[in-house]
Symmetry: C2
Subunit: 131 residues, 2 copies
Amino acid sequence: MNIGTASEKSGLPAKTIRYYEDIGLLRPDRAGNGYRDYSMSDVHRLRFLQRSRSLGFSVEECRQLLSLYGDKERESADVKAIAEIKLVEIDRKLAELTELRNTLRHLVHNCHGDDRPDCPIIDGLSGRATQ
Amino acid sequence: MNIGTASEKSGLPAKTIRYYEDIGLLRPDRAGNGYRDYSMSDVHRLRFLQRSRSLGFSVEECRQLLSLYGDKERESADVKAIAEIKLVEIDRKLAELTELRNTLRHLVHNCHGDDRPDCPIIDGLSGRATQ
DNA sequence: CTTGAACTTCCAGTTACTGGAAGCCTTATA
DNA sequence: TATAAGGCTTCCAGTAACTGGAAGTTCAAG
C-alpha cells in the first residue's frame, strides 16, 4: 500500500513515516514507480511507534522495544531483560497517569462549573512532593 | 531555594528549569545575588511539568493543564471543558499503556528466556490494527 | 584568601519532527 | 487524448524542546 494509506492506518503523518525510514526504524519495499510500498507488518510497526511515542518513550526506546520482536539475532535473555526494565517504567507511568486522571476527575466533578473552584488540588496535580 | 535543590526535588535538570522559565511556564523570585529563588509552589509546578511531559503531553498542553489551577481569571466552565478534553486523552493513554504492559508481561513470563521466543505478539505490540 | 562547586547568561548543537519547493506519477473528467 | 488535481518523490529549511559548553560571578570550606 502507498504511504497515504499507511498514514491513515497508523495514525502517523506521511512526513513522520518517511523520517522513521530515514533513521532506520523500518524499510518498506519500493514499487516499480518508486513509490514506497507498505506491508501490514510495516503498518504494525508504525502503529506501535505511534503509540509508544505518544506515551512518552523516546525514539531510541521505541527502537529497543521494536527489537523485542524484530531482531532474530537477539538472545531471548536480552529480550527479557529489556522488557523487564521497560515494565517498571510502564508501571510508573501508569501510576502517574492514574493520579493525573483522578485529579482532573475531581476538578470536573466537584467544582461546579459556574464559578472559580477553590479546591486544594495542587498536591494532586504535582504529585505528593518529596518534601 | 536554589535551582539545584529545585532540580533535585522536581526531577528536572537545571537546564530544563531555566528553559521553562524562558518560555514563561514559571517565574521564580530572584535573590539579592541574582540567583533564582524557588518556592514550594514553584517546585509543585516543576514536578507537574516533569510528570506530564514524560507522559507525552506537549509543553503547550502542560501550559493549559497548569492554567487549570494557576489562572485566577479563567472561568470555571473553561477549566471544566479543558479538563474534560484531557480526561478523554488520559483514558486513551491509560488503555494503551495497559495493553503495552500486558504484552511485555506476556513476553517476560511466557517466553522462557533461554531461547528465541515465538509468540504471536505483534498484534499486542501494535494494537489491533483497524484493518 | 584561595579553591571548587554552584550559579549566571549566551550561543551553538541535537532530537524529533514539520513545512514548503520543485518535480514526477496517477486518476478522473472534458 | 488532454489536462488538471492530487498523491508521490527528494531535498532543504524551520520549529519544538531541550542539552552542552564557554566565560564569568558568587558562595562555602579550609
